[in-house]
């Protein structure tokens, strides 16, 4: 009997854990049912997952294309809107050249959407100016892990958590940002696993830790190096692994000698004793899993911190074995996939460098086009170029840089400076308000396609809600391509996935049919005959030998002084997502966290005479915001925290201009600040 009931199955649109659920429609209402069969969420969801349809069904959804007329928008037909976009983009390309247009793709869109969009930029417009928000959250992971291991992704599977004897977390508020992974860590701890957490805040997961190293933001490298130093001194290392599977050890060893617990303690303000205890706990562990997130990646030394974690894992042979490995917790539900698809200014699909002409040839043949060698502009560089007038047009899908990127005031100016801006989104976002044409896109719940989770799991989603008006992102792009003279004949997302199977080696066997047979996905690399990969680097690293990197702590770029005595750090909270566009449209999620705040340690607040709930000003060299104070015992003294979800408290106006020179990720997590009573 042909059973078609997978049509109800989809994947959560929020974080990158990749929880599956069914959606059924009852007499006028929708119900979300967590999928028991999913090896990822095993019948559970976090609060965001339970409310994943709220924004989909929001009354604010855009249903028709909008065209700017002066200061307002008028509704238009798809034909009209697409004609304008195609003509205008062609005109700008012909007049100013291919690199005068920038394309920002979306980690919320499917693999198929991302693939088509970067192909659109590269093939039809001849530019590598295509990038997406991974630049702002995990580009340092891609760089760091490719350099260390050869593949920029989680080395193990989520299910490996169960049997690890130590879980080592750096800079991840796991129960709030990746709650279902957080819950698995809690369950492992309940069963007796040890837990080390490095975090400036006493988060929930930190409160359950065997050892919590509460450091100053941006001081992970000295701690990680000091632990490595102790391991070598106390001979806790796996020589066999180091000798046969790695390179660069001697140089690394030399560098870390000066990172004594005392030295690391001075920089990080973590007691020496705790660093030694953590080293011993790790030293005695047989199977350790490392997790890290934006607390590591969004730093000026983001890439190097990732490398420092990789070093620590390799020292004890904790890569490529069951219940060991290094796990970046990616942000958006498809940031892994968008990166895999080459929606990055320096990578083609499958992580082929744009300047690697040998590797590139294969893709050029399939596309029947030449791809420029020059890396394109990154997300942040695009806005800089627009400000300077080098970039004339932008096409932004499902991103809200006016809220989420550093320096919103500059982003706004940059957008105003453009001759032409297309925004493709579900809502009239702060960014869409600057557009010349707004194209209404379907949400995850209305389309077919695939998403790739943080454990490299490629999962298929199905349309579970029907909303008349919006179109799939790939569909819109295809319609534009045809208007620009390319006969792109993709009938549906499966056709695109078949092309991805050819182009991206990691996805070779993840065919539409196979993913239907494996409703909870396959983990890449998937070989042509359909074999998935639970654990990477088993007998051999992707790059051959694992590479130790001799990384040093470069000191603060922003030092605290009497004028700016605090370190301000930013982050997300459990109930919200990114720029808030989706979660403020959920009644319950919004109710749970309706306003922004600055979290300040109770002792610091006492000294400054700040009361709970009182409005204060937080100032940095770059800007200031007015926000309510939240007095807490959980945050380290000398540190301030402001969540980044609220467009009325644009915390990204406060951060500096510093970037990680390798991955070009902006420094979001450390900026010197002061707080003033008003």
């Amino acid at each position: 009997m042909g059973n078609t009931l997978n049509v109800n199955l989809t994947v959560c649109p929020f974080c990158s854990v990749g929880c599956s659920f069914y959606v059924v429609k009852n007499d006028g209402s929708y119900e979300i049912i967590p999928a028991r069969g999913s090896p990822v969420n095993e019948g559970k969801l976090c609060i965001k997952g339970w409310h994943a349809l709220d924004f989909v069904l929001s009354k604010d959804r855009l249903l028709k294309p909008l065209i700017r007329r002066g200061n307002s928008f008028i509704e238009a037909s798809w034909n009209e809107a697409l004609d304008i976009v195609a003509n205008k983009l062609r005109e700008i390309r012909d007049k100013y050249g291919p690199d005068s247009i920038g394309f920002i793709s979306s980690a919320k869109a499917t693999n198929e959407d991302n693939y088509i969009f970067q192909k659109f930029a590269r093939v039809i417009f001849g530019t590598n100016n295509v990038d997406h928000c991974a630049r702002l959250c995990h580009s340092s992971t891609v760089e760091g892990l490719i350099r260390a291991f050869g593949t920029g992704a989680m080395t193990f599977s989520i299910s490996d958590i169960d049997n690890a004897d130590l879980i080592f977390i750096v800079g991840s508020n796991t129960t709030e940002h990746h709650p279902i992974i957080g819950s698995k860590i809690i369950n492992a701890v309940k069963k007796g696993a040890n837990l080390i957490v490095i975090d400036p805040k006493l988060t929930k997961i930190a409160s359950l830790a065997t050892i919590h190293l509460q450091n100053l933001p941006g001081t992970d490298i000295p701690i990680l190096n000091a632990i490595a130093n102790i391991l070598i001194k106390e001979n806790y290392v796996d020589w066999e692994f180091i000798n046969h599977r790695t390179e660069g050890f001697d140089e690394f060893r030399k560098i870390i000698e000066k990172y004594t617990p005392e030295y690391a303690s001075k920089i990080s303000e973590v007691p020496e004793k705790q660093i030694i205890e953590a080293a011993e706990l790790y030293g005695k562990s047989k199977r350790t899993i490392f997790f890290y997130a934006m607390g590591v990646t969004q730093h000026i030394q983001g890439t190097e911190t990732v490398e420092a974690i990789a070093n620590l894992a390799m020292l004890k042979g904790n890569v490529g074995r069951e219940s060991t490995g290094v796990g970046p917790l990616r942000g958006q539900n498809n940031v892994q996939g968008a990166s895999d698809m080459g929606a990055l200014s320096d990578f083609l699909p499958g992580y082929v460098r744009v300047w690697d002409s040998n590797a590139k040839e294969r893709i050029e043949k399939i596309w029947n086009a030449k791809i420029p060698e020059k890396p394109g502009l990154t997300v942040t560089e695009m806005f800089e170029a627009a400000l300077e007038g080098r970039l004339k047009a932008m096409y932004i899908i499902g991103e809200n840089p006016v809220v989420s990127d550093p320096h919103p005031e500059l982003v706004r100016k940059a957008l105003e400076n453009l001759e032409f801006l297309v925004v493709q989104d579900l809502f009239l976002t702060e960014t869409a308000k600057y557009a010349d044409v707004i194209l209404p896109a379907k949400s995850f719940a209305e389309k077919k396609g695939t998403f790739t989770s943080t454990e490299r799991r490629i999962q298929k989603v199905h349309p579970v809600v029907n909303i008349e008006g919006p179109l799939e992102d790939w569909k819109i792009i295809t319609l534009l391509a045809r208007r620009l003279g390319y006969d792109w004949n993709y009938e549906d997302s499966d056709d695109i996935l078949r092309e991805i199977n050819l182009v991206v080696p990691q996805y070779a066997g993840a065919t539409p049919e196979r993913l239907e047979e494996h409703p909870f996905g396959l983990q890449w690399p998937v070989t042509r005959d359909g074999k998935e990969t639970k654990i990477l680097h088993k007998d051999r690293f992707t790059r051959g030998l694992g590479k130790f990197h001799a990384v040093e702590w470069n000191g603060y770029v922003e030092t605290r002084d009497s004028q700016y005595p605090f370190v301000l750090t930013t982050g997300g909270i459990y109930y919200h997502w990114c720029s808030g566009v989706m979660t403020i449209r959920s009644h319950i999620l919004y109710r749970e966290a309706p306003e922004a705040y600055v979290e300040i340690n109770v002792e610091d607040a006492k000294l400054l005479n700040i009361k709970n709930g009182q409005y204060v000003k937080v100032k940095t060299k770059y800007g200031e915001v007015k926000v309510k104070a939240m007095i807490s015992e959980d945050i380290k003294r000398g540190v301030l925290f402001i969540p980044f979800h609220y467009s009325n408290v644009p915390v990204n106006e406060l951060i500096g201009y510093h970037k990680d020179p390798i991955s070009r990720i902006p420094e979001y997590k450390v900026v010197a600040a002061r707080i003033e009573v008003i």
């Binding site: 069914y22 049912i33 339970w50 009354k59």
Partner: protein
């Protein structure tokens, strides 16, 4: 008076087709190709399975979110639901939950009209379990078989189902035959299997043994990640929030399930909150189920379905709490 029939398992799908053709909307457990069982509208009788579903039927009569009424040009327009529906293949722990919802939502001073609208046109065809399900503990309460509150109740007796009929509404001679004494005995035996397989919890007087001041609440509170699943999945939880949404010149009054494990649930003006931490919210949940409802209605607000255990990401287990306060360990 209740009558007893039987139906051959071979005829079940044909019977479902017959009901579909009669114009009923049928909701019941269906198996997806991915192997999950979900309670949803049945379009094709082939999809039906006699198994416990992840979600159960609650949201058919009490949806996650629904419009209560619309307000347009000075008038209140009530929502209608004229679907004639059969909930086919429910479990006893689910329908017992309906009975409890009825007590709260229909039998008080004010009637919940939205609930009544959907509840009153839902015919129940219950399937009494003959095997213990994985997390269930229904034998601590009403057991796996309903005494009333259904139109038909099916009990697996091998090649046939024994069918108890409270009324003749859905009885069609073509599919049903008379049941023998032996069939009835067999059904009883099968139901008894569940009593044998399941652990009975020391529920007696739990409302007197449970304690407000106890370390267990902090301990569990440290784990709880406020996902809301224990409420969302519960057949007896009835708390909701109400809000208005304006669309054009129409205002919709909407109600949505709420969860007492969320901070905003009991937050007061000025961000004061009598239940600030997880521990106090867990106390609320368990006290409501095991103490307050018993005082007000004479029974515990739990049917032993085990869904809150199954869907809790951090394995907070009501069975453990009951055992703990009856002298067990955690």
């Amino acid at each position: 008076m209740m009558k007893v029939y039987k139906i051959s398992k071979d005829k079940l799908k044909a019977y479902l087709s017959y009901l579909l053709n009669k114009g009923y909307s049928i909701y019941g457990p269906v198996k997806t190709t991915s192997g999950d069982v979900i309670f949803s509208k049945i379009e094709d009788p082939e999809h039906f399975v006699d198994e416990k579903s992840t979600n159960g039927p609650k949201s058919v009569v009490f949806p996650e979110r629904e419009i209560i009424f619309r307000y347009r040009e000075g008038k209140i327009i009530e929502e209608k639901s004229d679907e004639r529906r059969i909930l086919f293949g429910t479990r006893t722990c689910e329908i017992e939950g309906f009975r409890m919802l009825d007590d709260v939502l229909l039998k008080g001073k004010y009637k919940d009209i939205s609930y009544e609208r959907k509840r009153s046109n839902s015919i129940i065809v219950n399937f009494a379990c003959t095997k213990a399900c994985k997390y269930g503990f229904c034998t601590t309460f009403q057991g796996p078989k309903l005494k009333n509150g259904f139109s038909l109740q099916f009990i697996d007796i091998g090649d046939d189902y024994l069918v108890e009929a409270m009324n003749e509404e859905l009885i069609v001679p073509e599919y049903f035959t008379e049941a023998s004494e032996e069939d009835i005995k067999k059904a009883e035996e099968n139901i008894n299997n569940v009593y044998k397989e399941m652990e009975q919890l020391p529920i007696k007087d739990i409302e007197k043994k449970i304690k407000f001041n106890d370390e267990i609440w902090n301990k569990l509170g440290n784990y709880c990640i406020n996902c809301g699943a224990c409420n969302y999945s519960c057949p007896t939880c009835f708390c909701f929030d109400v809000y208005d949404v304006k669309i054009g010149n129409e205002i919709l009054r909407i109600r949505e399930w709420d969860s007492c494990l969320l901070e905003g649930f009991s937050r007061l003006a000025g961000f004061n909150n009598p239940r600030k931490d997880n521990a106090s919210r867990l106390i609320q949940r368990f006290y409501h189920k095991l103490v307050y409802h018993k005082l007000n209605y004479g029974y515990y607000l739990c049917t032993g379905c085990g869904r809150c255990i199954e869907q809790c990401p951090v394995n907070i287990d009501i069975r453990d709490v009951i055992k703990y306060f009856s002298g067990g360990e955690l």
